[in-house]
């Protein structure tokens, strides 16, 4: 028993008022006149006794009223462990992100959660969630301790990257449906990299009382040296070509909180160590190690870069990826019979890009008996007049997943129809007539064709090499059905992308020779051809590596679902098929949730082997500083006093305020006092 506002007890001085009125102030009863006392007799003893008794009751009621009101303001409380906590939901959130695999963090967190669960009153409801990339609800709110316990014991670590911003975001979403008071217990390693960019994203709703349970208790423990393979750069596809250089695998070995040391890095292909290098890693720094690829078997190879870290977090010592080795694929280049420049420029660029493609150049009139399905992709350069059989074959080819680069060239001026796209040329801009030219205006750098250009050595998006290209001639088409990747300065669409069926068609409204523009003379042309060919062939999707929780597109979004829809097939790292039969027919995309190799067969029939790695930010085990944690817990409740009260409640029995009961009792006493006092007043009136 105690008082939350003991200063109000000073109001007990108010007790002096009824004491003065009843005991100190002398009662003067107004005498009542009568004609004669002839027939009256004295009755003093009885009257005095009754009066004193009644005044005593009134005095007691008034004293009690003052006392109760003062007590109510002083806010008395009692410590009640069970009754108080029953009203609040105990929410146990266990961080099972990738970093929790380090040491015994996850088991420690589960044990702490079980301890909290054991200390809860049996009638209090509790709920268990895990925090990975998203907040996952494992149980509904229940009082069943056994179910909660078994759920906690069954929590497995994931490969996801945790994010406290997602925690607060998920809890806010839950809070929109229910506003009940919640005691949130978070069991985590409090990794610094799990913080959102903005601390405001971590603010919890006011009905949450946050209690943090860091699995790393002391500052000495928190500095855990950890080496990891931070990134791997490897060609996803590897083809033998006589004149190309041998590709190599480059990996970055990083150390977090480490001293300078020599690590051994190995390239393992299909379980066999392919090469081993010693690498000097500076203190808390990074080092690059390079492995030449020489003898990779044909088909998909499961590769990994492995280091000997000898640290407590061994799971992040490898980085996996896949390489597909194949014969060079052929590219069909259809051009005007009179045009010899465009195949020359395009072929040169393709060769310079070290891409594993071999270009086959034919003129348009030779294409009638060509089957485009044999080619990785097709380029129609200035060849808008095609044999109809070939045009139909191209349309079918695109629908089944093939891709075509249509270059309008100069023939668009007298041939309004654009094959495959079924578009017509609305106008032709010939800038050279006025001895002028146009340059690139707006560019969509998010598109894979131009995005890669940016990342390869260009300093900024505004100076990608395209700005110096002069365009003299461009066709005008309606871009409303397409994704416009680039426009000229006057707004004329230059590069358009349209998805048809499972395939893509890129439309370049200028030409590939050096007549309509001087693009082939610029270095950016090689990068453009390289990445356009990669994009059109779809090679990037089939191998290489991804991050955990990234999505992979299984089929084109515009594909109409039907009974004959092609099923996709996914085999996860454990060898299971995560998609049901129905999902395999309908799913548009798939989230790669586990680290390891995924085998995927896409809807267009292409096979892929993708290595999935955890986000390397999880390898930085540095915890959040204490002052930020204090700030976070402070942001979840309103007042410091309330917070202290709540944290005290988490440790020991809670306080149950009694002011409401005291106030109700005071109300009853006030009513009784009114009745008794009214009786007395009535009697005094009568006496007057």
């Amino acid at each position: 028993m105690g008082f939350l506002s003991p200063w109000f007890l000073a109001g007990l001085a108010g007790l002096a008022i009824p004491i003065y009125v009843h005991l100190l102030l002398r009662h003067t009863s107004t005498p009542r006149p009568v004609s004669s006392l002839m027939f009256f007799e004295r009755g003093i003893q009885s009257s005095t006794r009754h009066r004193r008794l009644r005044y005593l009751i009134l005095f007691v009621l008034r004293t009690a009223l003052v006392l109760l009101v003062v007590l109510a303001f002083a806010n008395p409380f009692i410590r009640r462990a069970k009754a108080l906590r029953n009203d609040r939901l105990l929410l146990l959130v266990i961080d099972n992100s990738f970093s929790m695999r380090a040491g015994t963090r996850l088991s420690d967190a589960k044990q702490m959660a079980l301890n909290v669960l054991a200390s809860k009153p049996s009638s209090q409801r509790a709920q268990v969630m895990t925090l990975g990339s998203q907040l996952a609800i494992l149980t509904q709110s229940t009082q069943d301790v056994k179910a909660l316990r078994s759920t906690i014991e069954g929590i497995q670590s994931s490969d996801s990257r945790g994010n406290f911003g997602n925690l607060t975001h998920g809890l806010r979403a839950l809070n929109e449906t229910s506003h009940e008071p919640i005691d949130l217990h978070l069991f985590s390693d409090m990794q610094k990299t799990e913080m959102p960019a903005n601390l405001a994203d971590m603010v919890l709703p006011s009905n949450f009382a946050l209690v943090l349970h860091p699995v790393i208790k002391t500052q000495a423990q928190s500095v855990i040296p950890n080496w990891t393979v931070e990134s791997v750069e490897a060609p996803s596809r590897f083809a033998d070509s006589k004149d190309s250089k041998k590709p190599s695998v480059r990996a970055v070995v990083a150390g977090y909180g480490t001293a300078a040391a020599t690590r051994t890095a190995s390239l393992v292909i299909n379980g066999k160590a392919f090469a081993t290098h010693k690498v000097e890693v500076p203190a808390n720094g990074r080092a690059l190690v390079e492995f030449p690829l020489v003898d990779v078997p044909y088909g998909f190879s499961r590769c990994e870069i492995r280091i000997d870290s000898a640290d407590s977090f061994a799971t992040d010592d490898t980085s996996i990826f896949s390489i597909r080795r194949s014969d060079p694929e052929r590219v069909l280049f259809v051009h005007q019979a009179t045009d010899s420049r465009s195949p020359l420029y395009f072929g040169s660029a393709l060769a310079a890009a070290e891409s594993s493609f071999v270009m086959q150049s034919i003129s348009a009139d030779q294409s009638s008996d060509i089957d485009p399905a044999k080619y990785a992709f097709v380029v129609l350069s200035d060849a808008l007049v095609l044999p109809s059989i070939f045009e139909n074959a191209l349309i079918q080819y695109v629908r089944n997943g093939g891709s075509v680069l249509v270059v309008a060239g100069v023939s668009a001026g007298h041939r309004a129809h654009i094959p495959i796209l079924d578009e017509s040329v609305q106008d032709v801009h010939n800038y050279s007539r006025s001895n002028a030219f146009s340059s690139i205006g707006t560019v969509d750098f998010t598109h894979p064709v131009l995005q890669q250009v940016t990342s390869e050595g260009e300093t900024s998006k505004g100076d990608t090499g395209w700005s110096s290209v002069k365009f003299y001639y461009a066709s005008v088409v309606d871009p409303s059905h397409d994704r416009t990747i680039a426009r000229l300065a006057d707004g004329t669409p230059l590069l358009l992308d349209r998805q048809i069926g499972e395939g893509h068609v890129l439309l370049f409204t200028s030409g590939l020779e050096n007549i309509t523009n001087d693009l082939p003379l610029h270095p950016v042309f090689v990068a453009f051809v390289d990445h356009a060919s990669r994009y059109l062939s779809g090679d990037d999707q089939l191998s290489g590596s991804r991050l955990v929780d990234s999505f992979i597109q299984l089929r084109a979004g515009s594909t109409k679902l039907s009974d004959q829809a092609e099923s996709v097939e996914i085999i996860d790292p454990e060898g299971h098929r995560p998609l049901s039969l129905n999902e395999a027919r309908t799913a548009q995309s798939f989230q790669l949730k586990r680290a390891g190799f995924y085998q995927i067969r896409f809807a267009n029939g292409k096979q892929a082997l993708i290595g999935v790695n955890p986000d390397r930010r999880e390898s930085d085990l540095e915890p959040i500083s204490d002052d930020i944690l204090q700030l976070w817990t402070g942001s979840s409740s309103e007042e410091p006093a309330t917070r202290a009260q709540r944290s005290a409640r988490a440790e020991g029995p809670g306080r149950s305020s009694l002011w409401l009961y005291v106030m109700m009792f005071a109300l009853v006493v006030a009513v009784a006092e009114s009745i008794v006092a009214g009786y007395h007043l009535g009697m005094q009136r009568e006496e007057v």
């Binding site: 009568v34 004609s35 027939f39 009256f40 009755g43 009754h50 009535g682 006496e687």
Partner: protein, 301 residues
Amino acid sequence: MMQRFLDPVILASISSLDLLAKTVVDGFVAGLHRSPDFGFSQEFAEYRAYTPGDDLRHVDWNLFARTERCYLKRYRGETNSQLTILLDASNSMKFASNRPGSGPPSKMDYARFLAASLFYLAIHNQRDAAGLIVFDDEVRNYIRPSTRQGQMHRLLAGLEAAEPRARTNLAKPLQHFQELLHRRGIVIIVSDFYEAPQSIVRTIEPLRFHGNEVVLFHVLDPMEIKPELRGPAILVDLETDRRLEVIPEYARKEYRKKIDSHIDQLRSLTQGAGMDYHLLVTDQPLDAALREYLAIRQGGR
């Protein structure tokens, strides 16, 4: 309908005693109009055969003209009486159970209304001489009975001036009463009679010996007959200023027995002594008192 004008609660709102008395008496007389038992002084009573010596003024000449016989017309109430009201103006008479204006008037006011009404009835209706003696423990005011012009105003002024004071003592002013009441008539004593009945009767009895018709109008407040106390109270005697703490149980039981016994005893003793006694409660109309007066007038004629 007419009772409404006799209700003391309504009369208390009339400030002028003159108007009050006129209201009461006119209302009372109008209410009596159909009664065959009562008549007035100018009212025809009977014919009587003329005998020598009779006053010729009373001969009914109309009858003589028709029948050639001499008859005398006789009227009721030809004789005048003398009304003297002895008004107790002691302190006990100012008792009223209610606040002024909210209920029955005080006993003094009631007594004033009563006296004024009786004077009006006597002077205007009966042509009687009327006088007033105001007393407490001595005679404070005496207005000689008279039928002179302006007597009514003098009497009413005497009533107005009669403010309660001192205490009742019948024995002391009695000798003065006997000196003042030379002629036999009707003596009405209006008082609350807070004295022993034997003492009262013994004091008043000598008035009767002079041939007066003596009537006691015992004026009491309703709360004096049935006092109601919700709690113990300190009571103050209006005449002696003596204080007494009284409990409600006593007021409910013992007191009522005593006051009832007092009234009964007073009534039996006065009637035994040949006097009339009437208990007048201040919340009752005045007609009972007026009726009593007329009955005495008829009996005394």
